[in-house]
């Protein structure tokens, strides 16, 4: 029994926090000013706890399983959620439903944990829903804003639609193979067109969650409309979780279909990078801009996944670790500015460096990291992804992919240019950054700068395989 607790410690910890929040809400309730530090403290404990007492094994028959890699992935998500709780303090303090918001967020996180640990389709599906339905509600948390409701509506409808297709795929897989267990599915080697089709139905749901073109259309709208905390949760935590489980599903469960999914992944990676870049190029709203840029990033993740070797896994995990820091830093800065002066357009950022050098540097660093420019960790992240992908892909493909990095640099530089170079009569006034936000931004910057230089981090991830 002891073992069981340790095996599911991440989930249990999160559940405990959820119920604590529920009791606080149902009971006397707390002022945001006091509740938020408490939540941040709990999440910090959660992060720390995540690094201890790691166990490997199965529980609930074939429902739940855990490996060091999965635990590490969960820890990445924990860190991300902790950073979110710090970065968006300004917004959290203002919201009327802080406890509920975190309750939903942690439920989604719980869903992702289960998703990572899932060992069969049922668990996977339930966890996926648990990870997405609360997020749709979270998207609506700017309750009086039209855009927020629109975003939530688009999200819940699209998510329901995609889970319909997912379920249809699963049902066909079940019909063909007679099992929903991952282990057994990976042993099913009789290929048939129907099985392929079912796989594509299933894959489309992953693609939807990861916002792979052409299943990405909801992304930008939702990102733009939702509160920034939700957006960053969606674009970082939720994306990372789905990418992690996609690796398991492709590498393990659909190993027999490798010839098909390899091409599929490469094809979609290509389209995703190109379309994501093309859309990102002309965005003016920072959130929307980051949404599209994150679409392009997913394309690179797919390239890494296509490598179908242990380097592929490690590089994706590594990249997402870096991505958490980079993207959250970017969203953090956007949020600070958006909350304080209510400006989200790139042109509003003109001359930002004159008034807010710290924010500018953090944002610039994170954008460089996203663009994959050294010495930021993003460079290494991208490089490892491409290294993994390069194992099998052709030169022509790699050239196209890498040239797209140049295009992506173009639009990241647009922001950098606005902040550093462009002149502005009335730049955004100097912003007072609250302590937790500052701390989180510094953590993110440190992560961006240091992760890349510490080569052993990759080795560590590699050793988890």
């Amino acid at each position: 029994m002891n073992e069981f607790f340790l095996l599911m410690k991440s989930e249990l910890m999160v559940t405990a926090i959820i119920f604590l929040l529920l009791f606080i809400k149902v009971g006397k309730g707390m002022q945001n000013e006091r509740l938020l530090p408490l939540i941040q403290l709990l999440l910090l404990l959660n992060v720390i706890f995540g690094f201890f007492f790691n166990q490997e094994g199965n529980a609930f028959g074939d429902m739940f399983h855990s490996t060091p890699m999965i635990v590490f992935e969960k820890n990445i998500l924990n860190v991300g959620v902790y950073l979110i709780s710090m970065l968006f303090s300004d917004w959290f303090k203002k919201t009327a439903h802080l406890a509920e918001y975190f309750l939903l967020m942690l439920s989604a996180l719980l869903g992702m944990f289960f998703m990572l640990s899932s060992a069969n389709m049922l668990m996977f599906y339930l966890a996926l829903e648990l990870a997405s339905i609360p997020v749709a509600a979270m998207a609506n948390f700017n309750l009086t804003q039209k855009q927020s409701s629109e975003a939530a509506m688009k999200m819940i409808l699209s998510a329901a639609f995609s889970s319909g297709i997912l379920l249809f795929g699963i049902s066909l897989i079940y019909g063909v193979t007679g099992t929903i267990n991952f282990e057994e599915l990976s042993n099913y080697t009789t290929l048939s067109p129907l099985y392929t089709m079912a796989f594509i139905f299933l894959f489309s749901a992953f693609a939807f969650k990861l916002s792979v073109v052409p299943f990405h259309f909801w992304t930008a709208d939702v990102y733009e409309g939702a509160p920034i905390a939700t957006t960053s949760f969606l674009s970082v935590i939720s994306k990372a979780a789905v990418a992690f489980i996609l690796i398991t599903v492709l590498y393990k469960v659909f190993q027999p279909l490798q010839n098909i999914w390899y091409v599929l992944v490469l094809l979609l990676a290509f389209i995703t990078i190109v379309i994501g870049n093309l859309f990102a190029m002309r965005q003016q709203n920072m959130k929307r801009f980051l949404a599209y840029s994150s679409i392009a990033q997913v394309g690179f993740i797919l390239v890494g996944i296509s490598g179908s070797n242990t380097t592929g896994i490690s590089s994706v995990v590594y990249f997402l670790l870096v991505y958490v820091f980079s993207n959250l830093a970017a969203f953090g800065v956007v949020s600070v500015i958006s909350e304080q002066v209510n400006k989200e357009s790139i042109s509003d950022y003109k001359g930002l460096y004159q008034t807010n050098p710290l924010l500018t540097w953090v944002l610039a660093l994170s954008l460089f990291s996203l663009a994959g420019v050294p010495p930021t960790a993003g460079f290494f992240g991208k490089f490892f992804l491409l290294t993994a992908g390069g194992a099998k892909a052709s030169y022509a493909f790699m050239i196209v992919v890498v040239l797209n990095m140049v295009i992506s640099l173009y639009y990241y530089l647009k922001v950098v240019r606005a902040m550093f170079i462009d002149q502005n009569e009335t730049p955004i006034a100097a912003i007072q950054i609250s302590a937790p936000v500052k701390l989180a931004l510094i953590i993110c910057s440190a992560g961006i700068l240091l992760i890349g230089l510490f080569g052993w981090i990759f080795d560590f991830i590699q050793s988890l395989n």
Partner: protein, 643 residues
């Protein structure tokens, strides 16, 4: 054995002068720069003379043969295992002779400039440049390696550029300096390629080895160089031809002569030094240096050299007859005289009696340096006096400047080949060599020497006789002793240099060539020269209208000659119209619009694609769902039916 230290000092003293005056001159030597430079050069001259004495009379001749010595050689830059630039000093009969000429003329100019350039704001700079030039010229002369020669060749060019453009605030001087540099640079391009060719086949850059290998028909290098052909000519021929191109440029041979008249924009002493006596004969020296190769291996090229020299001589002489700027007349005369030297080379053979042209050419080089420098310095005095270059502003100066007049007259007689002045002896030898070898060239040469006498005396009479002087009164006479002394010294040279038995010192094969002097042969040239002098006297001794009438009767020819046969215009057309408008402009356009345009267009196209596909993101959640389903179907079809 040569005294290495002496020779090094000869080379380095001018350089020290350059460094000293160039770096510190402004601060410490603004008044005394001339003295410092002159003293240093005086030492160098004495050492050079000493070196010459020792070479010719002490150690140079071994068993009747003048040897070539390389007292110092060190590797400066290694290209391949066998090809390297070995900086060295070569001591042989021609280099020693040139050493004397260069240092002596340079010394004269240094002294002369003390008076001529007095009070110039950039006095020290002027002397620094003179030092640089002398150093470069000496380096060129002493070069033991063809690449070393090229290096100093270029340095000479740049010193010439600096000195022509010395009056940098005068646009015409700037233009002239650029022109001189660029035209010679163009020739040097040929020289460089020639060096590449010769060095590749000779597998060395050292003159001695190179000549040895490329003149020995049994050596592998020679065989390879002769057997490799390009456009129907052997590699060796190409190499020799291209090397000569460099020499032709520097020596202002037709058609690369256009820079020389313009170069007269520099201070007159500079013209005397560079554009009369020393630098412009570098081409002749180059041919002499490689003479065995030209004579033994590529007689075709040597033949060509002869023709180029002859054509240049006559053209320059014709043009000189029509010019009114006294320095330009002298410039064309220089070109004409170098033409003489060139065709003398061209009509020579290697060794023995047949090598008369070679000796004659260098003899003429020697004497010409003296009297041409004299002419220029005299002209400088005149210009100094009247503050103009135009003949029309002069006349009747013989009384006002007696010493200048006398020395100028001597120089004119010398250049006209009147016995017993220096020019007579050297020119006679050239004519004799031409007569023996090529009658047509001989004819041209005869004609040219007549023209020479004519235009020189035209010049002489225009300056010193003609109408009485109308300008300002003589406010400063003929200049101080500093300006007179060089004139007198050079005049002495012009009178007596001809008596040197040149053949016993310089010959193509190093053996003594007995001076052949035929009185009978000399009659015709002297008569022709006298005729030229007479005509000039008739026309110009008094201010008459004869010249204008004659000019009017042969208007076409006169205009053509007056406009230097339109060669300048041709060049202008080629550079302005073809290089700038037909090549430069289209290239610039190509770069701006096409190559850069492609880069910019890539960005524009990408952006317009991005703009074009934005409609897909319509904000309609149902459209998104349709795309979703269509995507699934497409992928399913792809992987079921197509893949």
């Amino acid at each position: 054995m040569p005294n290495t230290i002496n020779i090094i000092l000869v080379l380095l003293l001018p350089f020290i002068s350059f460094l000293l005056l160039g770096l510190l001159g402004k601060k410490y030597f603004s008044r005394t720069a001339g003295i410092v430079g002159t003293l240093l050069l005086l030492i160098a001259t004495v050492l050079a003379m000493h070196t010459a004495y020792e070479y010719y009379f002490v150690y140079g001749k071994i068993e009747g043969l003048y040897h070539s010595f390389v007292p110092l050689q060190f590797q400066w830059l290694k290209f391949t295992h066998s090809v390297s630039i070995d900086m060295g000093l070569i001591i042989d009969s021609i280099s020693v002779m040139m050493l004397v000429v260069v240092t002596f003329i340079s010394l004269m100019v240094h002294i002369y400039s003390l008076g001529y350039m007095k009070g110039d704001p950039r006095f020290s700079t002027y002397y620094a440049f003179l030092g640089l030039f002398t150093f470069s010229m000496l380096g060129l002369v002493l070069a033991a390696n063809i690449f070393q020669m090229y290096i100093f060749w270029e340095l000479v060019g740049v010193s010439s550029f600096l000195l022509i453009g010395y009056y940098y605030e005068k646009p015409s001087a700037v233009a002239a300096s650029k022109k001189a540099f660029i035209v010679t640079r163009f020739a040097d391009f040929g020289f460089l390629i020639g060096i590449l060719v010769l060095s590749y086949y000779g597998d060395t850059l050292n003159f001695a080895t190179l000549i040895e290998r490329l003149t020995a028909p049994e050596s592998n290098e020679f065989k390879l160089a002769v057997s490799s052909t390009f456009l129907g000519m052997s590699a060796l021929t190409w190499g020799a031809l291209l090397v000569f191109m460099g020499g032709a440029g520097k020596s202002a041979m037709f058609p690369l002569h256009i820079w020389l008249p313009d170069a007269m924009e520099g201070p007159t002493p500079v013209s005397a030094l560079i554009h009369a006596a020393t630098m412009v004969v570098a081409g002749v020296y180059l041919v002499a240096r490689l003479f065995p190769v030209f004579a033994l291996s590529t007689p075709v090229v040597l033949e060509g050299i002869g023709w180029v020299g002859a054509v240049s001589a006559v053209i320059a002489a014709i043009i000189a007859c029509t010019q009114t700027d006294i320095k330009r007349v002298l410039a064309y005369s220089t070109m004409s005289q170098i033409g003489f030297m060139m065709f003398a080379m061209g009509v020579s053979n290697y060794g023995g009696e047949e090598g008369l042209g070679y000796t004659a050419s260098l003899f003429h080089l020697f004497t010409h340096a003296l009297f041409k420098a004299l002419l220029f310095l005299g002209a400088g005095s005149v210009i100094h006096f009247v503050h103009s270059n135009e003949m029309s502003n002069m006349g009747g100066l013989r009384k006002l400047m007696p010493i200048t007049h006398l020395t100028f007259l001597l120089a004119c007689l010398a250049i006209a080949g009147m016995p017993p002045l220096a020019g007579f002896f050297s020119k006679e030898e050239i004519l004799l060599a031409a007569y023996q070898h090529n009658k047509i060239v001989f004819g041209i040469a005869l004609l040219t020497s007549g023209l020479t006498a004519f235009y020189m005396f035209r010049l002489y009479f225009s300056i010193f006789w003609n109408k009485p002087y109308e300008g300002h009164s003589a406010h400063h006479g003929e200049g101080g002793w500093t300006m007179m002394l060089p004139l007198l010294l050079l005049a002495a040279g012009a009178v007596f240099a001809g008596f040197i038995p040149f053949g016993s010192y310089v010959s193509s094969d190093g053996l003594i060539l007995p001076t052949a002097f035929h009185v009978t042969f000399s009659i015709a040239p002297v008569l022709i020269g006298l005729a030229g002098i007479f005509i000039a006297m008739v026309f110009y001794k008094k201010s008459t209208t004869h010249p204008n009438k004659i000019a009017a009767t042969i208007n076409g020819v006169y205009q053509a000659a007056y406009h230097k046969f339109y060669v300048d215009e041709l060049y202008l057309f080629i550079t302005k119209k073809i290089l700038f408008n037909l090549i430069g402009k289209p290239f610039a356009w190509l770069d701006k619009t096409v190559i850069d345009g492609i880069v910019n267009q890539t960005a524009t196209v990408t952006q317009s694609i991005a703009e074009g596909i934005k409609k897909m993101q319509s904000g309609k959640v149902q459209s998104y769902a349709i795309y979703f389903l269509m995507g699934v179907i497409a992928l399913a079809v792809l992987f079921i039916y197509i893949w």
